[in-house]
Amino acid sequence: MQPRVTAILIARNGAAQLTRTLDALRAQTRPPERLVAVDLASHDGSAQLLADGGVAQVVASRGGSFGDGAAQALRLAAADPQPEEWLWLLGHDAAPEPDALRALLGAVEIAPSVAVAGPKVMRSDAPHVIASFGETLSGLGASVHLVEDELDQAQHDVQSDVLGIAAQGMLVRRDVWEALGGFDPGLPDADAGLDLAVRARLAGHRVIVVPAAKVQRSAAPEDFGRAPGSSNRRRRKARRAQLHRRLVYSPALMLPLHWLSLLPLALLRSLGHLLAKRPLAVPGEFAAAFTAAFGDPGVVGARRRLRRAKQLPWSSVDSLRMPWPELRERRAAERQAREARLAAADPLDVAPIGFLPGGGLWALLIGAAIGVVVAFPLFGGAAAVGGGLLPLANSPAELWRAALGGWLQDGNGVAGPADPFAVLIALLGSATFWQPSLSIVVLLAAAPALAALSAWFLLRAVSRRSWIPALGAVVYAVSPPLLASILEGRLGAVIALALLPWLLLAAIRSIRSWTGLGAAALLGAVVVAASPSLAPPLLVAWLALVLLRPARALRLVFMPLPALGALAPLAVAQFLRGTPLAVLADPGAVQATDAVEGWRLALASADGALHGWPAVAEVFGFSASLGVVVAIVLFAPLLLLGLLGPFLPGAARTLPALLLAVLGFAAAVGAGLLRVSAVDDGVAALWPGAALGLLVVGLLIAAAGALDALGRGAAVPGLALLLGALLLAVPQLGGLYSDDAAVRAGNGRVLPAVVTAESNLEAQVGTLVLTPQTDGSLRARLERGRGHGLEDASTFAVTARDASERDEALAELAGNIASRGGYDPAPVLRQFGIDFIVLAPIAAEGEDAAGGAAVSTRAQQALDGSADFSMIGSSEAGLLWRTTVDGIDPGTAPAAQEELSAVVASPLRDAGLVLLALAALLAVPTRLGSPRVRESRHIEDEAEYTFGEEGEQDD
């Protein structure tokens, strides 16, 4: 019998292509016997077009998918099945070639076992490119297109039997269609044809593709009749379809397992998306998982249909699945093609200079040499002490407890959040877990090298000449703020200055790439944790970046979040206590810091001493003002080149850098105005050196841009810059060798050895440390165990404005035992569990010490003359007495008081950690995903192979 063909034309908003399709249908060499058109509630007049186009039966549907339309058409317009009836399903964009139907029928007539035949689907906008020619399943059930986006050169014309086909242009026998129940309603767009074909296979029929029959399609099935969607929407629909099929195809026993695994798998795949730099795919992943788990009632009906129709086992289709090696190879080929496309398409991605040929290694080596020279006096000691440094605890466990715990050891045991800096200390200490204090010495020695490396990478993005980044890196490695921070032991500033160029580079890269954004967020958190005084200028710079690039604003919002999350617990606690600005206090051991005049700050001198040049001039017998002039002259090349930068070509890079330098200067001035940390005999201001590092980096970028633009005339200015920077640093290079250097190698003990030994037996042994100050007052501190190290230093404690009750009780005790009198210290000693008294040496030298000598003598005489204390001896840490009062029991540390700030701060801290983890995942540079996000621009004239999918265009 002659087969009868009923063509079902499904239209949705397809007015543009409908006429062509109708013409093509009329031009068929073997026309279909019946034509039924379905209009899926189009609103562009497709229904009218269909009617005008002479279609006999037009079904007006209220909406639905491709399969719904087909089912409705059959039910309403072609309800009578005829013998040997075939259904030909076409979309409004099909436009089949004249002999398409003839070829299809020819193929099915010679093979009676074939129930479903699929044509070769071509792209409407590129009729020689195959859009789809057969589909299959992978071993785990993911749908794989056998052919996708390939130029048709008849290379696939040998294919015949396949596992699945696209729904567009499908020719299916009516009785098989009825037996299988048509398309699965749970698969509205993606995988609809694949699913029908698979079920047909399992029912014992064959599915083939016919190369000679060609139809077209203008969009993927997910976008049928809709505006083209984002790749994320497509990914979500594909995943939804895959999960639906998984639940339908799985054996009944495995079904609960599959259902339970939906959410954990979504989580794992989200992590994979983050690593592949597709963070916006994460919501879709979870949406698909939730819908599949809870919002998919069609699974039951689909399973019933499958069970009814299934005749063969699943193993019968195994030979048609795609084997793993082939799948991997296919995916690798796809990735390479994608990267090649992007690399060819991005004109801005000029290959930067390489590390070795570009002098990067030289800069690193010079930086390492400088670091070793500067930090050499610290080698050999157990720890570096002095300035802002203290020894670390003996084990990483204690470091982490201090970093993540709530009860602080500093001061007199204040309940509050630890600094985010303590986490950095814990990380450093864990790196050299056998002796945590060693990591600080290593960091100080390696800091110039790190700084040189990061400056080199930053300047490489500014200049294309090979010697400019190397020169700039060396200049930055000997820059005054960095050396000053090493000499004064300001560990936070050292870390911040070494990482600052990297942060700026990542921020620039974050406009185009997710990796850059993640790296900028992570580095921003580390820099702000190390030196909170940089938070305001960096925030202002971020704001400027967002305003300059409003298109990327949504993405850039993520950048400061980890940094804010790191500071949040401390900020909340400080705000609730009434000292909000104290969150910007420098971490580490507090040092006396004073405000510095503006013009000295403009010369990048953080302590006003102009890098030691006036002192050197005086040593050699000249006046100090000669030293000032020398310092100005040596700093001038950097300053002048930086100011010159915006005048020369390339101002787009140098002007923002100069503005960044001005921002750093303003922040340095502001730092001197904020005196919030209690130290010795007064309050200390914030150290301006970190902000001055920003000044130096900004000037350096501008200077590099200027040198780049000067071309051949850059040799002399460049040489002047290099020589100026090196000579300027000479007095500071020997800073740690002089006898009155702040930082020196120490023995790793904070308290006398007797106390340290006692702390091994009694972990919480209390020691009252009295330090005479130059103004005749005594600083009294209660320390537990071996004393508090750098990990216990807390800005929350030193920025306390009012003395607490506990503080006052301790002050009462200290004042009385430092004086001869009738006071009985026993009750208070028992209350605090104090076993030892240490009278530290006076915290000053020379004539400043006179003020403290009186109170020191008084305290010593009083302690000597008291029957409650017996002197043990003197040590490096001071004179030591032991209390002879009995009943002293240090016990365990008092429990942290549940203050409101502590309750609020704890979940904030956890949130901050989560944000940090997200940033870290984003920042890991992988080759899994697309390496960068392209700004959307017109790319029609690009290579024809570019598709709009696979993560290149994002909304």
């Binding site: 002050a811 004042g815 008084r858 029957a867």
Partner: protein, 477 residues
């Protein structure tokens, strides 16, 4: 001639680009300059207060440690123990409660059964508590005869005692009393007229808590004509006194107890030096073994450099300008130098000893009766008084309180309510009752001394300055 439009457009574009760069560069320059200038303006500062907590320590008990009875060296069981001769009379003045008194046990140097100096203790009760005491004793045995009076003092950590010698017939005993609950470790620096004495055993002498020890200086520095002792203690505080007695051949020639005066300074005032029978004393002091009758000022320079010392008299009538220095000399450091005072008319004197280096000073005077009975007295320099002072005058012959005013303006003082004027640059001797106490008000910065003299007896001591009460101390938590 018109240029092609495209070329003109490129030219305009490049001009605009250069212009934009110039504007941008100038803007950057201007911003940088404005920032530097702006930093010179006065800007608001945020200061977190870090005020220290002021702690007023609880006051200790008031202590007065008396020197004890006159001791005869070698009078005990062994040659190194001393035994008391007679007993002293203690006059005390107590306000604000009941004092407790005890005689501490001896931890060395005292014969068994001998009594140590009295220790008076008064718990502080409010601001009005005060405790004062003084002792005096007349000894008349064959081995020890003379009159000695001494104030009861508060213990301290650093004391200079000038006086005595250890030549034949002269004995000097150092009495160290530790009233604290903690052992005191004492270091002695002994200076003779030839320089410092370096003998083992002078450092690390332990005086047990609540005990008294007697140390004969002859054990450390025998044969020294002039002695000065610097007593420093660690741990408990010490009240030190130096007892001297003289025996010429077989006759006792006087006894004296002297204690610490004012701390080393460039100006010292010796207040209340009594000269009586000065011509006879001067005549006799020329004979051998009677040289230590002469009125001298003993000066010690504790530092490293020699000092030029000038001694002037602050006469009772006062003087508007500085008088001619009676004595001028250069004293080497580390020596006990005796500067002889020129012939002084009988009377009561205040001496100002000034130098260009910090010094300690004390003066000695003697009386000689016609029958040869003699007594001497060492008077240490007085420290500046506070505003309200209680002066306790023990029993003794013709007691006198002398006030000295080293300032340029005259001072009005109330002595027991009576207004007295102390002339500028002069002194004022006031006759007082023995065995009683009196109140000095308004005498801040003045010096005072109590002295006794008769035909055969002489003694004097400076009025003790109030001990520096443990003042407030500021603690930074």
């Amino acid at each position: 001639m018109t240029e092609p439009t495209a070329a003109r457009r490129t030219r305009i574009r490049s001009v605009a680009r250069i212009g934009g760069r110039i504007v941008g560069g100038l803007a950057g320059l201007g911003l940088a300059g404005a920032a530097v200038l702006g930093s010179t303006l006065p800007l608001p500062t945020v200061v977190g207060s870090a005020d220290p907590v002021t702690v007023v320590p609880e006051a200790a008990d008031l202590l007065q440690v008396c020197a004890g009875p006159l001791l005869l060296a070698g009078g005990g069981e062994t040659a190194s123990t001393a035994s008391p001769v007679g007993s002293e009379v203690v006059t005390r003045d107590v306000i604000g409660g009941d004092e407790s008194s005890q005689r501490p046990p001896s931890s060395g140097g005292l014969a068994s059964g001998g009594s140590a100096g009295l220790v008076l203790r008064l718990p502080v009760d409010g601001d009005d508590s005060s405790l004062g005491a003084a002792q005096s004793q007349t000894a008349g045995s064959a081995d020890l005869a003379g009159f000695a009076a001494a104030d009861c003092i508060e213990p301290g950590n650093d004391q200079w005692l000038l006086g005595g010698s250890t030549i034949t017939g002269r004995s000097s005993l150092l009495v160290l009393s530790n009233p604290d609950e903690v052992d005191a470790v004492v270091d002695l620096d002994i200076l003779a007229e030839t320089g410092a004495v370096n003998v083992a055993g002078m450092d690390g002498i332990v005086i047990g808590a609540g005990t008294q020890q007697v140390l004969p200086l002859a054990a450390f520095a025998p044969g020294a004509e002039a002695l000065a002792v610097h007593v420093t203690s660690r741990g408990g505080q010490i009240a030190a006194s130096l007892q001297q007695s003289t025996v010429r051949v077989l006759e006792a020639g006087g006894a004296d107890i002297t204690q610490t005066g004012s701390a080393p300074a460039t100006e010292q005032i010796v207040t209340g030096l009594r000269i009586a029978g000065g011509e006879r004393v001067q005549e006799r002091s020329g004979e051998a073994d009677w040289a230590d009758l002469a009125a001298v000022v003993r000066v010690v320079v504790p530092g490293e450099l020699p000092a030029n010392v000038a001694i002037e008299v602050l006469p009772a009538g006062g003087s508007s300008d500085r008088a001619e220095p009676a004595v001028e000399a250069e004293v080497q450091p580390g020596e006990a130098a005796d500067l002889v005072l020129p012939g002084l008319v009988d009377g009561t004197y205040a001496l100002r000893i000034s130098a260009d280096q910090p010094i300690v000073a004390a003066a000695r005077s003697a009386v000689l009766a016609e029958d040869g009975a003699t007594d001497f007295a060492w008077l240490a320099a007085s420290a500046a008084l506070g505003d309200d002072t209680v002066v306790v005058v023990p029993e003794g012959p013709s007691p006198q309180l002398t006030l000295a005013n080293p300032d340029e303006i005259e001072r009005l003082v109330r002595v027991d309510g009576e207004e007295r004027t102390v002339p500028a640059g002069g002194s004022l001797p006031i006759a007082v009752d023995g065995g009683a106490s009196l109140r000095l008000e308004g005498a801040e910065g003045l010096r005072a001394g109590v002295s006794f003299v008769s035909g055969t007896q002489i003694a004097a001591f400076p009025v003790e300055a109030p001990a520096p009460v443990a003042g407030t101390v500021r603690i930074r938590p």
